[in-house]
Amino acid sequence: MDPISGLALGFGHALSLANLGWALLGCFLGTAVGVLPGIGPALTIALLLPITFQVEATGAFILFCGVFYGAMYGGSTTSILLNTPGESGSIITALEGAKMARHGRAGPALATAAIGSFVAGTIGTLGISFLGPVVVELALKLGPAEYFALMVLCFVTVSAVLGGSPLRGLTSLFFGLLLGLIGIDLQTGQPRMTLGVPELLDGVNVVLVAVALFAVGETLHLAWRHAGGEPEVRPVGRLMMSRADWKRSIFPWLRGSLLGFPFGVMPAGGTEMPTMLSYYAEKKLAPPEAQQEFGTTGAIEGVAGPEAANNAAAAGVLVPMLTLGLPTSATAAIMLSAFQSYGINPGPLLFEQQGALVWTLIASLYVANVMLVVLNLPLVGLWARILKIPQPQLYAGILVFATIGTYGISNSVTDLVLLYVIGIIGMFMRRFDFPTAPVVIGMILGPMAEQAMRQALTISQGDWLTFVTRPGSLAILLLAVAALLGPRVYAAMRRAPG
């Protein structure tokens, strides 16, 4: 289906009253939960997943799209008013945005973030609509060997290229891979890594792990270093952007969007890199008088650009997720597991078999985007009030939801034990600077990679050389090696004189 007729079909479904309602509910819930400090889009969707028990697939995914975009809007509000970024992509927003808020310019900072998110969301969604079918065409030509190679590339980029240390990133990834192995082997029916615990035969739920790491681990880490006192919520003030604010924001929005989207699409997913690059670009490109505001009173360019880059990259992540079934961010991994809970497997065939669902989903991204920019600016006072929930009750409440989300699914105390044990591991991961996203990604991609590998080897009758004799697979694997070793070789060459 070509993009135009696909979108026509999609909007036809997305604009029905019921689906508009789901989108609105998703945007509202997403923003409200996303505003809570320390909660990013991945945890927001994970906490709202139980909704899938009662809602059919299309409605649920429209809801999740709303939640996905809404949680990012909410996250920027928290970064600006409270200086507590909920996820790595809004760290940069907090940098300049919180400074603007401290100098009484919270309103324009929120406005430029919201409108920038809208611009980036629109460009990103256009990108999904037109790039998606192209990638699907390519993806249909890939065999299991190429798929396996692609997943290896994903593993390398999400764990070893981004973040502080490849060693710690890879350790997180392998922890996730190990968790993904637990349960019955799909091809032979053998139980694996279950430690003889019958409850583990069904495997460990990826949502449980996400909630454990992002909610339990995060809360435990906060308690560990809790020093008392409430963080200060800055007043919003006037929301209006002045004419100068507009002039200073437009190009950063566009540059940020165009920079962010490709980063999201590539398996090098992740929003840290594009937001950082956008920040440095805007700092360089800003006129001298604006450059002085960077790091002092807060420059509006430093909010507009990175926030747009963040949203465009997050939208871009949906391209590999929908077309290849490869999640490259924790949020995408949770959404993928939501698809799987409906028995739907994202990948190239999704566009053919579930065309109506995919295009409705894409159309509802446009809808959610418009709803958010219309709704959120007037409601910003309400979101700011959510920020004032006192910490003790807030974190106690988050844990209540984490508990019922886990216990409600299975009624099993074993799952609760698992939730808390992985939560404690998550606390130590925070303490020792191990990234948590690779755990979730490894857990969901690991079994898929193993299956692709074993399929490829069955086709080649056990010949391991199939991964390096097929040109596509070889090229992707070489790329993975380059991504893993490139930065190190470069650093070594610079260190070695001559």
């Binding site: 350790t171 192995l181 003790p392 409440g397 105390v413 034990v417 193993e450």
Partner: protein, 184 residues
Amino acid sequence: MSAPGSPGRVLQAAPAPRPAILPDLWVGLFVIALGGLALWQAATIPTSPIYAQVGPKAVPFAIAAGLLLLGAGLTYAALRGGWSHTLEEMAEAPPTNWRAITLMLAGLLANLVLIGPCGFSIAASAQFVLVAAAFGSRHLLRDLGLAVVLTLLVWFGFVEGLGVNIGAGYLENLVLMALGQEIN
């Protein structure tokens, strides 16, 4: 490999004697232990009677090996001076709040112990109060009231709204009785 064996080299890498490497060392050893556990579990996977090009053991062995290697790498990094003392966040962090972390863990434990015999609302309320106390709340009774209302609302939302079957405990039954419903 051990510090006394080659003190000169270790001292050279870490100019001042740092107590900070000990926590990092534990992390490395923990990952090695995890790898060992994975290796043991991989070895006990029964060999498949069904023919497959790559059996169910290959990938578990590879991941166990990976964990062992990464654990060794982390241990080596710890012995060379560790990494966590260089983290900005750690340098600024206030000292360990033993009271808060103990109360938090007590809250999780209370939930685990109570949820089976007493039901969700009682267990989660106990957890709520303890977690709120961990974060410095001093209004015990107010928290308790809030917790009971919140957990009951969440329970009814899940059971009635989403159709999830969560067994009713004492508190849920009381409310159901007050609403005049039959307890099943």
